[in-house]
């Protein structure tokens, strides 16, 4: 996060997404749901930034805002310096060549009536201006690259298993040589033994093609494995951003610390020192004032209820670490 001479691949600044409900006929309008509130981060070329947090923290909304599948309320999203939020629909469509997305549910994100080959060829048909033969060749290459048999191009999505469908989704995202792929929980719907195959595939593709990932996940063990940097969100705001090793070895934000300690350890001889988080997260329609974590934070002081701590850098040995906390 040093002053980059080159512009980062993706720069998100002060992103906000509030959902307003229509004013009812009688009575007062309900307060907007602040799904994402003032979130900033960058993704460099060829790196993986993981967005983690619990359900409802706004990580998926953030990811979808980047691709403008969700229109942000305010803030800026820049891809290679170009502002995406103000592009027209057609300009955005063109820009999506560089910016693809892989969805969580491999069952819902593929058209059940298109054969697999057509699903992967569709982006090529829309953008690449290839001849039929070139397209066919490219599809074959993509199939082979993601570990599907090229002969299976004629099959329909329901004939594939969950892991294979996720490979199809990856092949489709890969078709136009994007610079960034937003992965929205790409492995959480898969069986453990198949999950490893897809995680390895994503890492191989990055090594080979230099793609950057914005990797949304809640499984911290997978994140620990795949990412270079990790951003922790809570209730629509960024709590901590750090290099992976720094974050996992020395988390600073109390929420990060609690989150990491909650992960079960697959070793019966280790009895982890667990910090239990009491209660449930507050509603994003009515977030607490000050630091959003203050209602559940073991370190909370009066100042935390009054003033929101900004995300600021901390001097750390190995890598940069940005934390939004008054005391850490």
């Amino acid at each position: 996060m040093s002053e980059a001479r080159t512009t980062p691949l993706l720069a998100v600044e002060k992103l906000r997404k509030h959902y307003f409900s229509p004013k009812p006929w009688i009575g007062k309008a309900r307060p907007p749901i602040q799904a994402v509130d003032d979130v900033s981060f960058t993704v460099e070329r060829g790196e993986t930034l993981a967005l983690v947090g619990e359900s409802g923290c706004g990580k998926t909304t953030t990811a979808k805002s980047v691709v403008r599948l969700v229109e942000p309320t305010s803030g800026s999203v820049r891809l290679e310096g170009e502002e995406l939020t103000t592009l027209s629909a057609e300009q955005m469509r063109q820009r999506r060549k560089d910016l693809q997305i892989v969805f969580q549910d491999p069952y819902a994100s593929l058209d059940p009536r298109l054969p697999a080959g057509e699903i992967v060829a569709e982006p090529l048909r829309n953008f690449a201006g290839m001849t039929g033969a070139e397209r066919k060749e490219r599809v074959q290459w993509l199939f082979a690259r993601v570990g599907l048999r090229p002969e299976s191009a004629g099959k329909f999505p329901h004939e594939f298993s969950g892991g294979q469908r996720q490979r199809l989704g990856i092949a489709r995202a890969l078709a136009l040589n994007p610079k960034l792929i937003v992965c929205d929980e790409p492995v959480s719907a898969l069986d453990v033994s198949v999950q490893a195959q897809v995680v390895n595939l994503l890492m191989d593709l990055q090594a080979e093609l230099g793609i950057a990932y914005l990797f949304v996940a809640h499984d911290l063990a997978v994140v620990r494995h795949i990412s270079h940097r990790v951003a922790v969100m809570y209730l629509g705001q960024m709590m901590e951003v750090a290099d992976r090793d720094t974050l996992f070895a020395a988390p600073r934000h109390p929420y990060t610390e609690i989150l990491l300690s909650a992960v079960p350890v697959p070793n019966p001889r280790i009895r982890p020192q667990r910090m239990l988080l009491q209660g449930d997260p507050p509603s994003p329609a009515n977030p607490p004032p000050g630091c959003r974590f203050n209602t559940r934070c073991p370190l909370a002081q009066p100042v935390c209820r009054e003033e929101r701590p900004p995300l600021t850098p901390r001097a750390a040995g190995a890598g940069s670490q940005w934390v939004a906390c008054h005391f850490r």
Partner: protein, 353 residues
Amino acid sequence: MSEATTPPAEAARAGGAAANPPLLEVEGLRTTFDTLVGPVRSVDGLSFTVDDGETLGIVGESGCGKSVTALSILRLVPVPPGRHAGAVRYRGNDLLGLSEKQMRRIRGDRISMIFQEPMTSLNPVLSVGRQIAECVQLHQRLGRAAAMQRVVEMLKLVQIPEAERRAAEYPHQLSGGMRQRVMIALALSCKPELLIADEPTTALDVTIQAQILDLIKRLQRELGMGVIMITHDLGVVAESCDRVVVMYAGKKVEEATVLELFDRPRHPYTRALMASMPALSTRAARLTEIPGLVPAPHQLGRGCAFAPRCTYAEARCRVEQPAFRVDALGHGVACFVAEEGRIPEPLVEAAAT
């Protein structure tokens, strides 16, 4: 374990209490579904026991039959398409032979279950208090006032704040973690002797998962009940179970105490599962993949179901079923290669740092 009717190893483990039958004894359980593609064996010859106060883990991937096992124990599998064989003995009585009326007296009272999806398993049109009250009124013949008192007591037990107010609320008004706690309160309201938890935390966030596992453990200590913990997460197993059964394609492939299993996994599938799951301590650059897919239950061949994906599979594995054999330490495995000790020992993840 599967060969003898009253296994001596079992009696020895019970520590002299051999006269009393164990809390739950499943023997040769076979659950078959009649489908259009022919009979499908979801659970195939499964045997295990659960003692009072003990937590037995059942681990496996989706489709391995672990949930069907749970449903079979409680006789919740619909019979026409389903069929049972074998025995499920609760304190010596075979549940599979009971009438539906007798079964209803056990279900929810002596043996109860927590389901994976708290949203779909609670009744959306009844307040949560009403649902818990219904259970205690039925089984324990409590009056209305006494039942409501028990409801509030149970909701407090599972640490739901403002229990009186929450009891009047409906499931959609509660968060996911809160709903799962209501499910637990419901399951424990009659102080059962056996609790079956089918992926109780899979739909929840890690911080809530930690709360729920902690809660189950605490209640188990207080009530002294046996627990069957069904999960695919080895982390959950390591933290909450005493003994573990690993299932693959409807069969038990390995069983051991939790320490023994993690120290010395013997079945290639157990090992592969451990290696393919990233942990926070994993430092390997690449995860170990298990090639191929979990087989569909109607596509099983004659041999070991794991053979097509197994690194150590031999010709024999593809044509013959390995029997489940228990070694001197009580560690059982169903694998020809492991039994003959031909799987190199150091394959065990060096991740235990």
